[in-house]
């Protein structure tokens, strides 16, 4: 990724979404449902490889009760979102969060391959 990533200065958790403020002055909102649908963990990711499964994942997430996540920083490069219900496993790199803010596919069109090492 050659483009430089602005630094996330502020994250405000609201009822249904979070508001992100970057150091370049830009502000975005990301809906929790979109965030959770983009979970990079090994269980959620493969579901996005396939359109039907992806929609199923989406429906499962939308069926969960609305809640504000607990947020932890992961090193200096990512955030983890802890939910009372549903998946809390994924580690979201700041780049991924920025992609979501810009409404870009955070997987960049690449299918997920599990444990491929």
């Amino acid at each position: 990724m050659t483009e430089t990533l602005p630094t996330l200065n502020k994250l405000e958790r609201r009822k249904q979404d979070m508001e992100l403020t970057y150091d370049d002055g830009t502000t975005y909102t990301v809906a929790y449902d979109d965030l959770r649908h983009a979970c990079p963990c090994a269980k959620c990711s493969p579901m996005r490889n396939d359109d039907d499964a992806s929609r199923t994942l989406r429906r499962q997430i939308e069926a969960l009760p609305a809640e504000k996540p607990h947020i932890r920083t992961v090193g200096k490069y990512a955030l983890g979102f802890e939910w009372q219900q549903g998946c809390s496993s994924g580690i979201y790199r700041f780049e991924r969060i920025h992609d979501l803010a810009l409404r870009r596919d955070p997987d960049r069109g690449r299918p997920y391959v599990h444990g491929a090492w």
Binding site: P40, K43, T73, G75
Partner: protein, 336 residues
């Protein structure tokens, strides 16, 4: 591990023959009890060891064990209490690198005690279980993972500042088992060499980390460049044909000393992989034939040359790791 350090006596099991559990039930209870005890002791270990670092790579032979032992020794050099856990069952070579070749498992009061290697680093290795070096243990899936859990749960580490965990190469369940057994792992250090194949594999490791819920502390590039030094007549200039069709021109200084670095593989691959994934780059370690010798004669490079270029490179990587571990907490981000 046929001879488990954990045993159990069930109270009252030898009175009235009628009410007692069947041998099979008894066995199940013993197993459940051992499991529970192990879980508790893993949690205790989690508390007594301040930081736990996994060392992984996508590809074999890139220098995980060299880096694991180097990090452990470099941390010990700085005065930390350090342990190293060698999870590699098929080819454990940490003991050799730590001058502990031929050691066997030391069990006392049903607890496994680590051996002490160079600079007081505590070492536990699957090699301590081997009958002889050349016969690898062939344990299949569940037994292997059970042995790892036992190794984690039954070792008397005492208080440690850092535990470095060295893994075998290739696709495996070991990192998953360790991540699930040991609470609060700080993260993983991914070792790569600057070759394209190794880089590709380390990308997979980074993706894997995200799914394991274990953070990537960063990427270390090993065997990065080979430095040649020597003497020539002072001020003389010369050029060297380097790999990749490049020419390096250099000159001897006023005292006639010169040195230049050859990039044996591709230049800067580790850094660009780290950048591409937005994970920290922890630094590069030079290609140093002394590592190979150290692996053979049991005197690690950091011990044989504590102020040499390789030891210095390691201390820089350690500094970068400590930097990542110290204040991951804010980074200026305000969460409301």
């Amino acid at each position: 591990m046929a001879d488990s350090p954990v045993t159990i006596t069930t109270p009252g099991s030898d009175d009235a023959a009628s009410a007692g559990p069947s041998p099979q039930e008894q066995k199940q209870m013993e197993q459940a009890y051992a499991q529970m005890k192990r879980k508790m002791s893993m949690e205790e270990i989690g508390r007594n060891i301040k930081h736990k670092i996994m060392v992984l790579s996508g590809k074999g032979g890139v220098g995980k064990s060299t880096v694991s032992t180097g990090l452990a020794l470099s941390l010990a050099q700085q005065g930390y209490a350090v342990g190293i856990l060698d999870i590699d069952i098929t080819g454990p070579n940490v003991p050799k690198m730590m001058g502990l070749d031929g050691r066997r498992l030391h069990v006392e009061n049903k607890r496994i005690h680590p051996a002490q290697g160079h600079l007081g680093v505590k070492v536990i290795s699957m090699a301590f279980l081997l009958e002889d070096e050349d016969t690898p243990v062939v344990w299949r899936g569940p037994i292997k993972l059970g042995a790892i859990q036992q190794f984690i749960g039954d070792v008397e580490w005492g208080e440690l500042d850092y535990l470095v965990i060295d893994f075998p190469p290739g696709t495996s369940d070991e990192p998953l088992t360790v991540a699930q057994s040991l609470p609060d792992i700080d993260g993983m250090v991914i070792v790569t060499t600057p070759q394209q194949v190794a880089l590709l594999d380390s990308r997979k490791s980074i993706t894997f980390s995200e799914s394991l819920k274990v953070p990537v502390i960063g990427v270390v590039e090993n065997m990065s460049g080979f430095t040649v030094s020597g003497t020539a007549s002072p001020g003389s200039e010369f050029s060297v044909a380097a790999p990749g069709g490049k020419t390096i021109t250099t000159s001897a200084d006023g005292e006639g000393n010169f040195s230049f670095t050859l990039d044996i593989f591709k230049e800067g691959g580790g850094k660009s992989t780290a950048e591409e994934f937005g994970v920290p780059f922890l630094g590069a370690l030079p290609f140093d034939p002394g590592f190979v010798r150290g692996g053979d004669d049991g005197v690690h490079r950091i011990v044989s040359e504590p102020d040499g270029p390789s030891a210095v490179a390691f201390s820089k990587v350690v500094a970068a790791i400590l930097d990542q571990l110290s204040d991951g907490s804010d980074g200026g981000l305000e969460i409301i």
